[in-house]
């Protein structure tokens, strides 16, 4: 039961974008919903794998050798390597999806949320299962957020918005309203 609550918490209550405020700039970029879904899936995959590898590196190497001050560079390197590996694999399996990521998966590794989850796991001292679930469910939360935001932006295209508020300001204000709705999940987990 605890695990289920933890998972719901990661996806909804502590949504990585709307509650933990990681990867907001990335989620708010102007994309079509289909492109947003591919990007969200890519971030979800890289986040899960980075969370697992970072957990392994932290608990098997960095902590026993008292090198935990190297966490940030080590986790960044892991995220870079995983995104490059993912790019090669995706190029072989689904080239069409890779095209939607503009042929380069490295910006996925530069997403704040990817490194954020790995660091969060290390600082909270999660076990392997929780680190894996945190990566997977936070990734699912990011996918949900990025698709929601892309949908909102598509609607905003046809709205009359004061010129200075076009683009990011109105996106942030709409995101604020979505975040307000997400407060409704509080008390669930």
């Amino acid at each position: 039961m605890n695990i289920l609550l933890f998972m719901i918490g990661c996806v909804f209550t502590h949504n990585i974008v709307f509650d933990r405020l990681l990867g907001v700039g990335d989620a708010g970029k102007d994309r079509r919903v289909e492109v947003a879904a591919v990007y969200g899936l890519a971030v979800c995959a890289v986040m899960t794998l980075t969370a697992v590898c970072a957990w392994a590196a932290d608990s098997l190497l960095l902590t026993p050798m008292k090198l935990d001050f190297l966490r940030v560079p080590a986790f960044t390197l892991i995220a870079i390597l995983i995104s490059l590996l993912g790019q090669v694999c995706l190029g072989k399996v689904k080239p069409a999806w890779l095209e939607q990521l503009e042929g380069c998966a490295l910006p996925v590794a530069a997403n704040v949320a990817v490194l954020g989850v790995a660091l969060m796991n290390a600082e909270a001292g999660y076990s392997f299962a929780y680190a894996l679930l945190n990566g997977l469910c936070s990734g699912a939360g990011f996918l949900l957020a990025v698709v929601l935001m892309a949908g909102v932006r598509e609607k905003l295209e046809f709205s009359r918005i004061p010129a200075p508020f076009k683009g990011m300001p109105i996106t942030l204000i709409s995101a604020g309203l979505i975040a307000l709705a997400f407060i409704g999940f509080k008390g669930m987990a």
């Binding site: 940030v72 960044t76 390197l77 530069a110 300001p169 204000i173 975040a179």
Partner: protein
Amino acid sequence: MDNRFVKGLLRDNPLLCLALGVCPALAVTTYAVNGLALGVITCCVLVCATLVSCLLGKVSSEKGQLALYMMVSAAFAAVADLIVKANFPELSAALGIFVPLTAVSSLVLSRAAFAVDNTPGEAVADVLGMGIGYLCAMTVVGVVRELLAHGSVFGAAILPGGIPSIALPAGGFLVLGVLMGVFKAIVGKKDEEEDAQA
């Protein structure tokens, strides 16, 4: 050089105009002092990472350049994290993982492309303007949000009360969105006047 420096403060303000480094601006600005502190830290990491990346020189591919820049800024972010943890434990607790996360801040990474195409002097002038612009913007957001949420500025009580929900993530989105719009309206008007004069 001067022009580039001023640009980062106003017309190309990284937070309020270019929407770079939005996540920390939403997360830590519930108190003005936190916004100011993270602004200073980001500025330092940005300047150091740019300078070192410039000196390391050009890598053959664009992707390699971004990866290199990420590793350099990760190293400086780790150093910044250790310094803050050792000297300001309370601040470190308030800022949480957003200090180490300056490593992949969109503000820091977005300057990578600029840094390699220019001389170190130009690149540093550019990021110094950007960094100070970001610092000022973070402080402004922090001041407005602290005033609205807690009725105080830098801890000094001004209003009798506040709206606690402004301190929630949703309040952060709304305040930053409105501030960006207002800032764009003011700076945009100034630009038009300058263009008309020219």
